[in-house]
């Protein structure tokens, strides 16, 4: 508490007017500046073709709805992202815990994860398609792989770094292995699990284009590639913005969850 006040005091020493502006107003400024920059890009002849102005992009919503793909694309992508992320998480959690607990498991699996993690998903997409075929399955597989790698490493590092004094403290209070797992390891890992969820959800979205290049019939990523062939920049930009918005909404939801589940942490920023 003390340190919180201190750090606030340091910030407040700046220009007082800037500190009086509420957060929502800052957001509005930020948005306004972005739209202004965007408009400038749409006027500049060198960039105008990539950046149709906001009205044209807004109109693209109607175009895409009338083509009957708008909602289909969003829903399709959300299904792939959601399913891939969920599967990645379900696999990452036990793998991370096993890696943290058993040295042999860690020594064998960790190098694999580090190795695959740096390969762009787009590179192994064809291999996935060869075995899994086209459609929903390969999309989910690609997202599962990418999210699993990120989340397994994050959770594992968290579990390995749990303060051992907490485990000792539990032991001298009579805790047996089972109590220690449920009452110490699990809650102590929660912040890392939440961080993993945040990173994983972001990876799921950034993998979307790769995942949907597996011969998908709908989806935000697939549509962007398709629109590329007809040089329709307005709907492309629209879809890009939608992906960004989905990302921000997911992030916000996770932040709320984080605050409720791990608000007890000493440091909460970032």
């Amino acid at each position: 508490m003390k340190t919180n006040n201190d750090s606030k005091a340091i910030k407040d020493n700046g220009v007082s007017l800037i500190n009086r502006i509420p957060r929502w107003l800052w957001l509005l400024f930020s948005l306004g500046t972005a739209v202004l920059l965007w408009t400038l890009l749409s006027i500049n002849p060198n960039t105008a073709r990539s950046f149709p102005n906001i009205i044209v992009v807004g109109d693209a919503i109607i175009t895409m709805i009338s083509r009957g793909v708008f909602f289909k694309d969003i829903i399709s992508s959300l299904i792939s992202v959601g399913a891939g992320f969920a599967l990645g998480f379900i696999i990452a959690l036990p793998v991370a815990v096993l890696m943290a607990w058993y040295k042999p498991v860690r020594n064998i699996i960790e190098p694999w994860i580090q190795f695959i993690r740096n390969i762009p998903p787009l590179a192994y997409v064809p291999l996935v398609v060869i075995s899994a075929g086209v459609g929903r399955k390969p999309q989910i597989i690609v997202i599962t792989i990418a999210t699993f790698l990120t989340m397994a490493i994050t959770i594992y590092q968290g579990v390995v770094n749990i303060d051992t004094t907490l485990i000792k403290a539990a032991r001298v209070l009579g805790a047996k292995d089972r109590d220690i797992f449920l009452k110490v390891i699990v809650p102590a890992s929660l912040p890392f699990i939440m961080t993993a969820v945040r990173l994983g959800s972001s990876v799921a979205l950034t993998t979307l284009i790769a995942a949907e290049s597996t011969g998908a019939s709908a989806g935000l990523g697939m549509r962007i590639r398709a629109l590329n062939n007809s040089f329709e920049s307005a709907p492309m930009l629209l879809y890009i913005i939608i992906i960004g918005m989905i990302g921000m909404i997911i992030e916000k939801i996770i932040k709320v969850l984080e605050r409720r589940l791990t608000g007890w942490q000493e440091k909460r920023e970032m």
Binding site: R171, G174, A175, P187, W264, Q265
Partner: protein, 263 residues
């Protein structure tokens, strides 16, 4: 002391602890013998590296002696047990639990009913004067308050002996003095057997009936000093002639050990 018959609470019987390091075998404790009597307050001083924390860990059952045995209430110590409560220097509070839930932790594991656990926890939270903070999380407390919670948590499960590993070492001088006084009051009331490790000679003397001086490399007991200063004690006790003499003596012994270690 005072000629009264007392039971041995903890018996440390020829405890040896060796560690295997890269440079070969390191003897941390070389045959330590000590009886801690019921209701006694024993403190241990010595330079860092003399094995005092190792000894505490062995008594607590967090570490195993290479040879020798420790008995608590006549039973051989094998692993941790709630007959031996521990207060750590780093507080070791569970940050995801409120003050009250932290104190209830051991009671719940013991299988105590909800209401009884709640009552017991509150009793000890009151003992350390934190009833207004029962529903706060550790991050909202100062270092001194955190350590008071840790003390309440250790007391709550009603151990036979309380083992304290430099509990006030991380606190500022003022808070440390305040907590010493509080601990004295608590001990004077409850007479819980205490084994207290510190590197602060003043702290060792003001609290304890006996001060164990340890020497380093290999760690063993150098001398045991009786502190024949009656309780209740307080900060003014430090002005008594007896106190000053004991302090000078112990300080010299510890300083000698410190010089030995530096060699």
């Amino acid at each position: 002391m005072a000629g009264k018959e007392r039971n041995v609470k903890v018996r440390i019987d020829n405890v040896v602890k060796k560690f295997n390091t890269r440079k070969g075998e390191m003897i941390a404790l070389n045959g330590v013998n000590l009886d801690i009597m019921e209701n006694e307050f024993v403190s241990v001083v010595g330079p860092s590296g003399c094995g005092k924390s190792t000894l505490l860990n062995i008594i607590a059952g967090l570490s195993e002696a290479t040879s020798g045995k420790v008995y608590c209430d006549g039973r051989e110590v094998k692993g941790t047990g709630i007959d031996r409560g521990v207060v750590f220097q780093q507080y070791a509070l569970f940050p995801w639990l409120t003050v009250k839930k932290n104190v209830e932790f051991g009671l719940e594991i013991k299988g105590m009913g909800k209401e009884e656990a709640s009552e017991t926890a509150m009793k000890y939270i009151k003992m350390v004067d934190l009833e207004d903070f029962a529903n706060h999380y550790p991050k909202e407390l100062s270092g001194g308050m955190k350590q008071r919670v840790a003390i309440a948590r250790a007391y709550a499960v009603n151990p036979s002996v309380l083992l304290m590993d430099e509990p006030f070492g991380a606190l500022d001088a003022q808070t440390r003095t305040q907590l010493q006084v509080e601990l004295l009051h608590t001990w004077e009331k409850e007479k819980k057997t205490c084994f207290f490790i510190t590197h602060d000679v003043d702290e060792a003397i003001i609290l304890a009936q006996r001060v164990v001086i340890m020497s380093a490399r290999p760690g063993r007991i150098k001398e045991i000093i009786d502190v024949n200063i009656p309780y209740p004690r307080n900060q003014e006790t430090k002005l008594l002639q007896d106190y000053i003499e004991i302090k000078n003596y112990i300080w010299k012994q510890v300083y000698q050990e410190y010089l030995e270690v530096r060699k």
